[in-house]
Structures are given as C-alpha cells and as structure tokens.
Symmetry: C2
Subunit: 360 residues, 2 copies
C-alpha cells in the first residue's frame, strides 16, 4: 500500500518518514492525516488481521497466542497520548547531528484505544526470573554500523524493565482517533508508551517476550542513546527514555506577517516527567517573558495547549520564543548539550514574525 500523505512534510522516502507541518498542529488531537510518521525500514508490514497473532512468550507461566478478536474482547482503555520522535528538532542542533533532519514537526497527539499492557502480562503471568520484556515489531530490515552490516534481517525491537512496565497507562493500541490503526501507524497493534520518546512505542507488534537478562538489541543499545561530545566509542551512550519538557509554537508560523493590534500566539507544551505547570512567551528574543494561559494542562500522557495574546503596537521584525516548565521543576534550556545523533533537542524554539501596519 502506497500513501502520499499530502498533509505531511517529506523527510525521507526510504524508510518512509514524514513530519507534521507545525502550522497544522493547532488542535489538541492531531488528525490522522496530519500525524507524523517515522518508519525504520523500507518494507512496511502489510498484515491481514486474520493472518496475524500476538505471541506472548519467554519467562511466562502461560504462553499466549492472541488474535485481534481475542484482544478486542479484553477490557478497553482509551488515552490521549503525545508522541514525539527522539530526533524531533534535530535540524536545529549545531553542529549538525547525524540522522534524519527533522524540523519541529515530529510530534503529534492521538486518541488511542486498546488494552492495558498489564492486562496481557497478567493473563500470561510473569515468572519470578523475568527481568525485562522485549517488544518486537513485524518490520525487518538491514542496519549498518561503521559501514559493516549489523544484521540483514533485524526486527525493530525495544525492551522495558519490569519497573517500567508498571505504568498502567502503557497500551496495546488498535485504534487511533476512532479508527483502526493505519498501516503506517502500526496496524493492527502498536505498543504505546506514554511520556516516552516515540522509539518505545513499537509498531506492528508481533511478540512480547519476558527475558532474564538485559536486552542489548540494536535499537536499545546502538540507537536512541546520547553520545555526547568527547564520549568514548559509539555504544556507551545514556539511553533516552522520557520526553524532555518542551513547548511548540504552532501559530503563527515562522516568517508570518501579522498586523498591529492584538494577536494570539498558541501552541502546545509537554513533558514525560510531569504535567506542564507554566509556559512563558517572549516577543523580544528572550529578554523579557510573560505567562501564557494554560488550557487542559493536567494530562499525564498528552500535551497542554497554551495561548498568549500580544498587543503588537509597532511595525517591525520580532523574535518570539516559548518556554515550558513541568511539575518536576524541569524547564526548557536555551541550548541543549550536543549529542552525536541529535536526540532529545528541547532547546527553546524561536520564530520571527513581522508586524505590518493595521488592516485597512
């Protein structure tokens, strides 16, 4: 199945990667056609629901093979979840970091329906020796490291520790925004780990395996780790997990012309560490800041909307910034520590707007 996604900006064809247009991120729930897509391989699984099963295996008391009908018969849970790609805003890192050059649009929020991961784990029963859970996607491909092929049939796999799967909000989701998942969003089933960067939310989920040792897969240890300036080697980076606190300016767009008088800036802010407690806006490049109004800011899993009304009183060019704070005391920095793969860039975003004379 080929889709063109006219509402998304192109980032890469092989694999398919599309980011949202920031100006389209104005609604709390991102319409599916505006939702960013980050696949890892050229071949996207094209499962028919009847030929698909979820295997639950490894250090469990009752290995399971569940059909989608089995899964839909379990208690349902619905959550609004903000997903952000670990590489979002990578193109703003200096020097340029390695990887797909996302602007600010690899973030979106969906309404996801599914079954709690814990419901499934309880059905299978973890053995006392289980330490981690590996989640495997149905996508396979080739990865290279330093020019050498790492594996030519590497599945996309991530693990979570038993502590981490204690989060009751982790879903096995089969619906997004009221419809079955689309193929590029992981049909028929996707692990959704709220509050974490998107790499944890494995698409086309085909197996859940409890293991007794730490998982060292490519996407666990070689990717999605912070390799800072001066770090030895390439695989010793600190893993990224939860979303760093961050605000997005979605209105106006960078470079837009507005008119003298009141103008309302708006956008979203999110953090994987707590809920958003404050967003500040500056219209003078960060010299002075004013508090934005927060709207729906108590979600544990989704972003908060903010608005800030400015009385534009003179014509000229202005730099607008937004800065978010969360309930754990985190605040967005002016700059982030550079890392080789450009992950988790939550530096304060800046746009320029031009104020023209009033409408005639």
């Amino acid at each position: 199945m080929t889709e063109s996604y006219p509402e998304l900006n192109h980032v890469s064809y092989e694999p398919l990667v599309k980011e949202s247009r920031v100006v389209n991120l104005g609604s709390f729930i991102t319409p599916t056609e505006n939702f960013y897509i980050r696949n890892h391989y050229l071949e996207v699984p094209d499962f028919s629901e009847t030929a698909w099963n979820l295997e639950v295996k490894g250090r469990v008391n009752s290995p399971l093979s569940l059909s989608m009908n089995d899964i839909r018969a379990l208690p349902k849970k619905e959550l609004d979840i903000t997903l952000e790609c670990a590489g979002n805003s990578r193109s703003y890192m200096m020097p340029q970091a390695e990887g797909i050059q996302f602007n600010h649009g690899a973030v979106s929020t969906g309404r996801f329906m599914g079954v709690s991961l814990n419901t499934i784990l309880n059905l299978a029963g973890l053995k006392s020796t289980a330490k981690e859970i590996i989640f495997s996607g149905g996508d396979l491909g080739t990865e290279e490291e330093d020019g050498a092929v790492f594996s030519n049939t590497l599945p996309y796999q991530r693990s979570l520790t038993l502590d981490q799967v204690g989060d009751e909000n982790i879903l096995l989701a089969y619906e997004m925004n009221g419809y079955p998942l689309t193929q590029d969003h992981g049909f028929p089933l996707r692990l959704m780990v709220p509050g974490w960067y998107g790499m944890a939310s494995v698409k086309w989920l085909v197996s859940i395996e409890a293991i007794e040792h730490p998982f060292n897969g490519f996407f666990q240890k070689n990717r999605y780790v912070l390799i800072p300036e001066g770090a030895e080697g390439t695989t010793l980076g600190e893993p990224i997990t939860k979303l760093a606190v961050k605000a997005l300016i979605s209105t106006p767009r960078h470079g837009e012309v507005i008119h003298k008088g009141p103008f309302t800036f708006s956008g979203f802010a999110w953090s994987g560490w707590g809920h958003i407690t404050k967003v500040e806006v500056s219209v003078d490049g960060g010299a002075t800041w004013g508090d934005a109004r927060l709207i729906n800011n108590q979600s544990d899993t989704a972003w908060s909307k903010w608005e800030f009304t400015w009385q534009a009183s003179k014509i000229g060019h202005f730099i607008v910034k937004a800065r978010a704070y969360d309930s754990k005391g985190n605040v967005q920095p002016n700059n982030v520590r550079w890392n080789f793969r450009g992950y988790a860039n939550n530096a304060i975003q800046a746009i320029a707007v031009r104020v023209a004379s009033g409408r005639q």
Copy 2:
C-alpha cells in the same frame, strides 16, 4: 551560455547562485571552478568585448567612453582579494532569516588583475560638487518589495562615497586567476572593492556616474542593510560595508572520521577592518582554546591561512571551533545579533569530527 559548475554546490537556479564546497577551499587562491557565484538576475549579460564600453559620466570634467582595449592600455594592478557574500552562513542564523540559504561556502579568494579605480577617476576628473559614485552593472531584472514590483528593469547598482573610493586597492578587474573574467564572474569588467562584502563588487560594469546626492537605489537602501529584531519598517537598516572578522574551517569537513594521533586542522580567516592577528582553535566545543599557526597573514585584501595540529588521543566525538582576531581588536562572537535578512553572520563556526582507532 549555460554552465553547470560541477565543483560548486547548488543554492539557486533563478538567479544562478552556487557556493563553494568548504572542503574545496584549501588553497590560498580559489581555483575559478571552485569560486562561488552569486548573480542577481536570471538573465546574465553576454557581452561581446567589441560591443561593450564603460561610460564614465555625471559630475566629471571629461566624460569618457572606454573600450576594453583602452582599459587594458592603462597601468595594471594585481591583487589577491577575498570575496564573501553578505549572506554567507545565513542558514546558521536562528530563527531562519529571509534569503538564499547559504552554508559557509559563499567565500572565495581570487587573484584579480585590472586598473585602479582612481586611475579612471583621475582621467575623467571629478567635479567639486561630486559626492558619490554610482557603479552600474549590465544586468537588469525585476525586484519586488512586499509583493509590489519595485522596478521591472532594475539594473544592479551600488554607490560609494568619495571617502570610500579613496582606497587605492579598488580595482576595475578584467582578469581573475590569470584569465579573462568568465561570464558569471562579470565579463568583461568587474568593480572589485577589497575588504567589503561582495555586493559592492559590481559585475558586468557598464557605467560609473558621479552624483551630487546620496544614492537611494534598491540594492543600496532596500537590500544589504541590517534590519534587526524590533526595527521599525523595512528600509531603515544600517548598511553593511566591510567584512566582519571570521574564520573558516576547511579541513576536515563536518562529520569526518579521523584517526588517533596527530591531525592538522586548517582553514582561512579574514577581516575587512584590518589584518588577521590570531586564530584560536578549540577541540572541546569552546571550553578551551589553543593558538593556531598563521600563514601569510599580512594581506590587506585577502584571507590568512591557519593551521592547528591536534594530538587526538582518545576515540569519540569532538566539536571543533575556530575563532579569529584582527588588528583592530575585533574578535568573532559566539552569536551574532539576529537580522531579518541574515547578513554578515560571523558567529564562530563549529564542526563535529569523530576520532576512530588508529589505522591498522
């Protein structure tokens, strides 16, 4: 005449704009095929030398019409001149500035042969009422401002004051690197204003006119002015003139893998305000700096080469920066003040390199 310029990176087709590959800027004199090109209009003048004349007119005692043979018969002067586009490094300005998104390659150095501007002005004799000199190129086009057409047959024109034309190093150049100018570099004659951003060096020069009042042409007042954050209007910016002090790292390229042991970084540094007195290099992202060796650093009109040998002792990722100082006490800043058109960005450049284990 269409040329493809395989050695240059493409920036824009209409008008033709090509920037040098930074890694190709390793020699003091930039080979013509590596020399950046910044035209303003789609149609590039295709003068035959015999059909071309330079008109010298306005407030002069003896108006002149000079053929290329006339000009070549005058005393010759040869100079190595570094040209940098006012928009060089624009893509590194944040927020993004308006204009063609140059990386760091819109800078090059050529060996130019021609006649001193003062020789021509003395031949014509300026009247006592003359205040400025307008230099007109043979290129014509359309410019728009705020969506309105400014002129549909606008020549590229710049002026210099009588004070400014006192610089004995200003040339009317007809050769570059030992050959007649190529069409895209201004054949048959180009004004060369050493130490100024490239917009002053008018290509396809067809007339020199002495006037009694300040010149207010589009490229003098509407472009090549600094319009900072918060500035009122669009035409009140401060004009840019001389080159801001700046260092370029040409070896290695960003992202290159080097090996443990000694490695020599190199590049160039220049300033329009004085000669280069010091270049410092940091291999830890700017925390500590060491002095580079300066080579050929006494030119009034061209860049200085620098080299810095690093003993790379551990593998990992490193951020390398270079910082230049000039004889007038200017030093490169970490950041520059944002301006709407992104001119004169001389913020310190940073590249990342990876040190791998030694060669086997």
